[in-house]
């Protein structure tokens, strides 16, 4: 089974005009892209803005994506270039970045986001989600916990996990799914109204 096949399925759908498939790609990679951008900027809100720009650029460039490289490699390249350009333009006009916005509504919105990202509530929400997930993982049976940690933390493929755990690949798939189900149940119990800003879409 070739890697990136699921991304490619979604990419092909976007290329055929299915915008909903692009949502799935954004949902899957948003945290990784923000984390990548955080290497260039320290402000989380600015990193999110840059990540958003990167996704928009990726969408516009998708007709040219031929699948020669993995989608995430291609996306990361766009994100890195977007981040570098943002840093350069910000360094050239540090005052403009804060004040020179023609649209005052946009200005207020951006200021709101900057403040929002720094509020203790926002930080607490992230911390609460993290704690919930980790406590749910701790509560898992050993085989499920090992499988999900090897997958999410170590990034091993199912075949590699199967080797490590001396079990069939199908069993690994089942264990990872059951682990996710258990964590998901816990998340839905704790965050009944959804994960903060998260449940507006997806």
């Amino acid at each position: 089974m070739s890697a990136d096949v699921s991304d490619l399925s979604l990419v092909r759908r976007v290329q055929r005009g299915d915008k909903g498939a692009f949502d799935a790609l954004v949902l899957k990679y948003q945290h990784k892209v923000v984390k990548l951008v955080m290497r260039y900027v320290r402000n989380p809100a600015e990193a999110e803005d840059i990540a958003q720009d990167a996704f928009i650029k990726a969408y516009r460039a998708l007709p040219q994506f031929r699948g020669d490289s993995a989608f995430y490699t291609w996306l990361y390249r766009i994100a890195i270039n977007t981040a570098k350009n943002a840093v350069v333009s910000r360094d050239r006009s540090p005052i403009d970045f804060d004040l020179d916005l023609q649209n005052t509504d946009e200005s207020y919105e951006m200021q709101g986001r900057l403040k929002d990202s720094e509020t203790p509530e926002a930080l607490a929400l992230t911390e609460e989600i993290r704690t919930t997930v980790n406590s749910a993982i701790d509560a898992l049976p050993e085989d499920l916990r090992t499988a999900i940690v090897l997958r999410e933390l170590e990034g091993l493929s199912y075949e590699e996990i199967a080797d490590a755990m001396a079990c069939p690949v199908g069993t690994v798939r089942s264990r990872i799914f059951r682990a996710r189900e258990a964590i998901d149940r816990r998340l839905r119990e704790v965050f009944e109204g959804g994960l903060g800003r998260a449940e507006e879409l997806g």
């Binding site: 699921s6 949902l27 945290h31 958003q52 007709p63 997930v133 879409l201």
Partner: protein
């Protein structure tokens, strides 16, 4: 049934689902909000486990990106196909320009060089005065022959400064890059320099000889 679907979604998230199943599920995922929410929580779980510093787990860029792209035209299949082939076969109007410029430059340099080498003394003119006549006599037979852009080779025994026939062929072959007036004057100059007789009468005869092919070029166009 639902559990199987969720199991497939989990495997798809990890890029561990067979391609055929991926395609079917991708279609459903793009339309099913509940599946999309689950998909997103899978991503949140991974980010939480990795404890990615500075990354907000409640982030939902998909909403912002979707809003920003709402005014964008949907990518069409044709546009995607065009994008994939772009850069390979797309015609660009400026591509012929360098070729044309080079051809014109070479032709101009050739004419200048020929003129610089042309004999100016009266003896030389007299010695070569028979050559144009021979060419002029051949003209009618040349015209009877099926049209060709190739100028007949020079008459043997004639004093040639350089292979003028090749130059004339070159000019005719690249005549698409020059105006008819320029082309005619170039060819006239070439023939005149070959014959070495700058007399008005001979010039007009020579011009008749080579005008045939150049006119044919125009017709061919």
């Amino acid at each position: 049934m639902k559990e199987e679907l969720d199991s497939q979604l989990s495997a798809m998230f990890d890029d561990q689902l067979p391609e055929a199943e991926c395609q079917l599920l991708a279609r459903r995922l793009s339309r099913d909000d509940e599946l999309k929410a689950r998909w997103r929580r899978y991503a949140v779980m991974g980010a939480a486990v990795r404890a990615e510093r500075g990354v907000r787990l409640d982030t939902n860029l998909a909403v912002r990106v979707s809003a920003a792209l709402s005014s964008e035209p949907v990518i069409s299949g044709a546009a995607a196909a065009e994008g994939v082939t772009r850069g390979k076969s797309t015609f660009r109007w400026w591509q012929p320009i360098p070729g044309g410029a080079i051809a014109a430059g070479v032709a101009a340099l050739s004419v200048m060089w020929i003129r610089g080498q042309a004999p100016v003394g009266g003896e030389a003119l007299v010695a070569q005065s028979s050559a144009p006549v021979a060419v002029a006599e051949q003209a009618p037979t040349d015209r009877a022959v099926p049209e060709s852009y190739v100028v007949p080779p020079t008459v043997e025994g004639r004093t040639t400064i350089m292979p003028t026939a090749e130059l004339a062929n070159y000019v005719v072959a690249h005549s698409e890059f020059s105006t008819p007036v320029t082309r005619r004057s170039l060819l006239s100059a070439l023939v005149a320099s070959e014959s070495g007789t700058p007399g008005a009468a001979n010039e007009s005869e020579n011009a008749n000889v080579v005008e045939g092919p150049s006119e044919n070029v125009d017709e061919a166009k």
